[in-house]
Symmetry: C2
Subunit: 244 residues, 2 copies
DNA sequence: GCAAGCTGAATCGTATACAATATTTTCAGA
DNA sequence: TCTGAAAATATTGTATACGATTCAGCTTGC
């Protein structure tokens, strides 16, 4: 087996230890950005070397990732990036339609100025990522649009549920995506924004439903794609767009 | 400080070790049943003695409980049974109204025979617990009614979200309840069942909304009640109704 | 009498060592 | 060459030890 541990670098400075939160975020992002493919075995020792932390802390972080369903813990085997099944995929999108339908109605019925500002800033970021061609950033930003609505609805609990669902959606896309999104779909975040700001709640709800079904319809729930194995490369800091 | 560890017994046999799952369930139930009051400090060493397990395992279990928001982890201080604030209480019930409204509509639009059987069995259990006067069992069963709908809707993910929300609701009631439920409210699970089985979806949704608002209206979100300290007593196996 | 600081006990955070389990390799026999 | 068992290796599960932090009670100075 070739050495998987070499691109780590653990941040920037040599001696500055990362917090658990930072390590968690690094792994989480790598998974959501498709740098760590579903099914990848996250070996504890390897992660220890990469982040220069003890196994105790890594285990606690992996447990948290597992609680959020982005990794699966298998007894005596270890942690693996989750490989959502077709049934899970349906469930995730069904839950999203319910939650996001409610959320977008809430914000559309009473759009605030901060909402407008947040959405416009976000759309600019989304466009920037797409122009640059940073695929990881694009994926992250698109999820972020949906999370933004949850945050603006001032529902932290629901926002947390949705954060899990969007992360799982990203895994679902990684495993089952059959074809890339077309230009029409890419524009739907703009349309949603306009409907929300125009207080056209019913239309916004309907478009959100179509938007989510559109993503789902691009999946081929029969096929799956194989995992990759290079932890170190996946967990490097991306030089592209900054995280939000 | 008096000795808090003595009623443990750790199950039945002396030498049979409990699984993590069992320990988790024991603590979770004790919290939801109001045997461990909100704010109670769950000291690791104490739990170790009670369940005869190492601190490593206890810490992992406490982390899971924290992920489900029934305990709060405070750095260098330890784990405490969550003490929901008034804002959290509002959020929890708002989320419940959304989720449970959808769920009850789903089951009411297509009630199955297994649903009918499950609901009727459940109502009998609920009544039995109330007749016996086992307060812990009553609380657990009432939550279970709501979870039943989620399970019957075949939405495991949403069911898990709701499991967290009902557990938190139990804590909210423990902290903020101003007066006990009246007979009318106690009967609403029956009425909900009838509406669902009669396929009167709109009425069922409306009653569910009223039911949840009724629970919320019995709260006094200003006052709070002090925690208790007797871990060992709280974590004993209840001799009453069996768990489901 | 009371606030500030100090000291010791209690408690938590992490690393490390060892045991248990899983995986891979080796090698004999057909 | 293939198959199966057994040894060797790799990986995870848990306990324990030690350092760091917090808390309670006490002392000291005002």
């Amino acid at each position: 087996m070739d050495d998987v541990v070499e691109t780590i670098d653990a941040g920037s400075g040599p001696a500055d230890r990362l917090t658990n939160e930072q390590v968690y975020a690094r792994i989480f992002d790598a998974i959501v950005d498709h740098k760590l493919r579903p099914g990848t075995h996250l070996k504890e020792d390897e992660l220890c070397e990469i982040f220069r932390v003890g196994r105790t802390r890594i285990r606690s972080i992996l447990a948290r990732l597992s609680a959020n369903h982005v990794v699966e813990l298998v007894e005596n085997r270890g942690a693996f990036v989750s490989r959502p099944t077709a049934e899970e995929a349906c469930e995730v999108f069904r839950a999203r339609r319910m939650i996001e339908g409610h959320l977008i109605r809430r914000v559309a019925e009473n759009p605030t100025d901060t909402l407008r500002a947040a959405l416009e800033t976000h759309l600019a970021h989304e466009k920037a990522a797409r122009d640059i061609g940073d695929q990881g950033a694009v994926i992250r930003r698109c999820s972020k649009f949906h999370l933004l609505l949850a945050e603006q609805a001032e529902s932290p609990i629901v926002a947390r549920f949705l954060r899990e669902l969007t992360a799982r959606s990203s895994l679902i896309v990684a495993v089952h995506e059959a074809r890339p999104p077309d230009d029409c779909e890419l524009d739907e975040h703009h349309e949603l924004t306009e409907l929300v700001l125009a207080r056209r709640a019913d239309d916004a709800v309907a478009l959100m439903e179509r938007h989510l079904r559109g993503i789902e319809s691009r999946l081929d729930l029969a096929s799956q794609q194989p995992p990759a194995h290079d932890l170190k490369a996946a967990l490097q800091v991306t030089a592209g767009q900054p995280r939000d």
